[in-house]
């Protein structure tokens, strides 16, 4: 029992960075923009968060900085893809590659340094509930913030006017334009917010998880988040489920290594990525059973007003 609880708690903790990136990408893709730059955004977020925390000792500043850096990079993506109608796949890949390179370069002097980072803050009454308490409510504030985000985003998407506009612009930008809203503005907005959230996911790794900066420390989590968006069918609550599932597999893998199983370590390290492939396989087989399983119809398609479709 103890072991199970600790694995579940670890699942939540290691799922959280992926969750932030997934939620960010859900916002971006719901607006009809594909951003494959998550890996690069997370790395830049991890670095900038660590840097600011290291030099100012303020984790609040660190998080704000990470968000702003992610937003700024996503702004470039939005300019290229929304404004100029450039190929979204290419632009996203470029962001990942540049982000990887730039973070390695800029972070050289920080390798080996440590920070205090963000610590655990059990929620008074709730953390005492058996099982649920230690699994869900004995974490750092960023985990709690992600709960709020998941619930808030689900409500936002389906119950608010802005959420309606967001869903519509990813489905039919022409219809959004025709009713007097500005599809370009909406796409910019959510691409930028999405980029910021992905960077927070990265900052979680350096501020909470390792409290250190290391090259390539995201280790493919950005790509897992890209796949999770599909697994989640663009829905925040399912994104949480998926992220914790992946976190759980990761945690399990660590435990098994620590316990000294005879299974070779590289094989265990592959587990989360194998799961990614399996999940994509499952989704694709299920696809076509109803439109609700599909991506936003205008995902990846630039909108230009007088252009014929």
């Amino acid at each position: 029992m103890e072991v199970l609880i600790s694995i579940l708690a670890a699942a939540v903790r290691s799922g959280t960075p992926i969750l932030y990136a997934t939620l960010g990408e859900i916002l971006t893709e719901r607006a009809g923009v594909l951003n494959l730059g998550l890996e690069g955004l997370m790395l830049m977020g991890a670095l900038s968060g660590f840097w600011v925390a290291y030099s100012t000792s303020s984790v609040t500043f660190a998080l704000v900085a990470a968000f702003l850096v992610g937003a700024a990079i996503a702004l470039i993506h939005a300019f290229l893809c929304v404004h100029l109608g450039a190929n979204q796949v290419v632009s996203g890949l470029a962001i990942t590659m540049c982000g990887t390179g730039a973070s390695s370069l800029l972070g050289r002097g920080l390798v080996g340094e440590t920070i205090k980072g963000i610590g655990v803050l059990p929620i008074p009454v709730l953390s005492k509930i058996p099982i649920i308490g230690p699994v869900l409510f004995n974490h750092d504030p960023l985990v709690y913030l992600s709960y709020v985000l998941v619930i808030g985003m689900s409500w936002f998407l389906y119950s608010t006017k802005a959420g309606l506009n967001l869903r519509a612009v990813g489905e039919a930008p022409g219809a959004v334009d025709a009713v007097g809203l500005d599809p370009v503005k909406l796409r910019y907005l959510y691409t930028v917010i999405g980029g910021g959230l992905a960077a927070i996911g990265g900052a979680y790794l350096s501020l909470v998880y390792t409290k250190m900066w290391g090259e390539h420390m995201t280790a493919g989590r950005g790509w897992i988040a890209v796949a999770l968006v599909i697994f989640a069918i663009w829905h925040p609550a399912r994104a949480a489920l998926g992220a914790y599932l992946f976190g759980g597999v990761g945690a399990l893998q660590l435990r098994m290594q620590a316990a000294g199983t005879s299974i070779p370590a590289p094989l265990l390290l592959m587990l989360p990525y194998l799961l990614t492939i399996l999940v994509l396989l499952g989704i694709s087989i299920k696809k076509g059973k109803g439109i609700l399983l599909g991506a936003p119809s205008a995902l990846g398609v630039p909108y230009q007003r007088e252009e014929r479709t």
Binding site: N165, A172, A175, A178, G180, L181
Partner: protein
């Protein structure tokens, strides 16, 4: 609107056009396909920016930077393709873009307003239904409710009757008249003369982007309007030679086909098609026609039933199997399914040939000289206007694209031709040409399945008509000269008429 000018890629879609609407008036914009009607109205609703010209509302000069400005000025447009969001529900679509709603959407309030509007105008819609599940007619009602909900003062209806049965159109006319009586200014767009004369107060005719003139209803007649619209006196009639149909080329037995979203779109259809026969499939689009056509060309596998071409079972065949049995396909989607828009004329012609030994070298390399020669001959025979054979087909006009596709599909003297909306969006000249080619191909011995929602076309060409509704055949007309548009309309709406029974398979087989 004064002196409106707008070009696309150097082609003038609107050339110094003047146009006005008064409150309470139904002003029709009449013109052929491609005359520039939609362009003009897209300018009025802020979607297109004109190069020159001014717009005045109540005497005040306006400049519309985006649809937002036009909406604020009280202009609402029912677009030719309604511009709804398919995955969303009706009420969400209506609420989309309503600035006055609070951030947290008051779902019940919106639904109530929708119900109120639909009662007042007799536009029945279900606010909770997702739009993609609705028929085209229902979607149109949603789009109209949406305009009324936004309290538009000027309503632009872009070819609203094109997707309706005659009965639905009649109902729409009542709604339009009611809206006009309430003081809305209405712009009604159409290219069908009869309905234009029925509903308009004034009629403005556009031809090749120019305003040819405005006439009051009293001064208008069908002949006069036709002349204004086309420019010369034309008597386009296809004569439909009576042929003795030959042997059966296509036999369809009780096929069921699923649509893209896994819903049953063709629900047990049977018929047989013979040589030298045009069988028209009439119906409002979206009733299973596309899926039927795809099942008969190998693009979609039926989940049950059989398809025979010349007696061979090809139910599970792929498109190549159908091509080898000389089944030709003229899809409605010209630039997507029919041709490859970015490829040139030669390459597009090659699509149906390149694997044949006479068009390859060593059975592997494509013999482009042969293909070019063949293309040259076809282009000449079908008079496809083109700057060069290596020109991407997307730059051809709709009419020339269609001619090119016909050239390719008819070149090996097909046994069966499946033609879907073959004249959709073409001007009168090209329409006439396409119809003539189909009829002459019939005389040469092909069996033609003509699937269209254009009743005039069905009546002009078919030797027999089957009416499709909800994926089923609701009636078969053996003598198209005797049937009225009203009767066809009723059947298209799903009403079975005793006069036109669906004879069942056995009788067919007995022959």
């Amino acid at each position: 609107m004064k002196g409106i000018t707008k070009s696309f890629y150097g082609i003038r879609a609107n050339d110094e056009v003047n146009f006005e609407v008064r409150p309470g008036e139904i002003h029709t914009l009449l013109g052929e396909n491609g005359a520039g009607k939609s362009t003009l109205m897209n300018i009025l609703c802020g979607l297109y920016t004109p190069e020159r010209g001014t717009i005045k509302i109540n005497g005040e000069k306006c400049f519309f930077k985006s649809p937002k400005d036009a909406i604020n000025a009280g202009i609402g447009m029912l677009h030719q393709h309604f511009m709804l969001v398919p995955v969303m529900t009706v009420w969400e679509n209506v609420a989309l873009g309503d600035k006055e709603l609070p951030q947290v959407l008051p779902k019940n309030k919106v639904i109530e307003q929708i119900k109120e509007l639909s009662d007042v105008y007799g536009l029945s819609v279900n606010p909770l239904a997702p739009v993609w599940q609705l028929s085209v007619g229902e979607q149109q009602r949603v789009a109209i409710v949406k305009l009324l909900y936004r309290r538009a003062k000027v309503l632009i209806l872009d070819e609203p009757t094109a997707v309706l049965t005659p009965q639905e159109a009649r109902h729409l006319f009542r709604v339009i008249k009611k809206m006009a009586e309430e003081g809305h200014g209405i712009v009604f767009i159409s290219h069908k003369l009869d309905e234009v004369l029925e509903i308009s107060d004034r009629i403005t005719v556009l031809r090749k982007g120019r305003n040819v003139g405005t006439v009051a209803k009293e001064e208008a007649s069908k002949e006069k309007l036709a002349e204004m619209m086309i420019g010369k006196r034309v008597a386009f009639a296809i004569d439909k030679p009576i042929q003795n149909p030959g042997k059966e080329v296509l036999n369809v037995k009780n096929i069921k086909v699923l649509g893209d979203r896994g819903r049953l779109k063709v629900n047990g259809i049977s018929f047989s098609l013979r040589q030298r026969e045009i069988l028209g499939i009439a119906g409002v689009s979206g009733n299973g026609q596309e899926e039927l056509a795809e099942a008969l060309t190998g693009l979609r596998k039926p989940i049950s039933g059989k398809v025979f071409v010349d007696g061979d079972d090809v139910t599970t065949g792929n498109p190549r199997d159908f091509m080898k049995r000389r089944v030709s396909y003229i899809p409605a989607d010209r630039k997507g399914t029919g041709l490859i828009a970015n490829m040139n004329l030669r390459e597009n012609i090659a699509l149906r040939k390149y694997w044949k030994s006479e068009y390859t070298r060593f059975g592997f390399f494509i013999n482009w000289e042969r293909i070019a020669g063949h293309t040259g001959k076809l282009v000449e025979r079908f008079s496809v206007a083109n700057p060069s054979l290596s020109y991407p087909v997307r730059l051809l006009s709709g009419g020339n694209m269609q001619k090119l596709m016909l050239a390719r599909e008819l070149s090996d003297n097909p046994r069966v031709i499946v033609a879907v909306q073959p004249t959709w969006g073409l001007d009168i000249g090209a329409t006439h040409y396409v119809r003539e080619v189909l009829v002459s191909q019939k005389e040469k011995g092909s069996g033609i399945l003509l699937i269209t929602d254009d009743l005039e076309e069905i009546l002009a060409l078919s030797d027999r008509i089957a009416v499709i509704h909800g994926g089923e055949i609701v009636g078969i007309v053996d003598n198209p000269d005797k049937v009225t548009e009203e009767e066809l309309g009723l059947m298209m709406a799903g009403t079975k008429l005793e006069k036109y029974p669906v004879y069942d398979l056995k009788e067919d087989e007995l022959e």
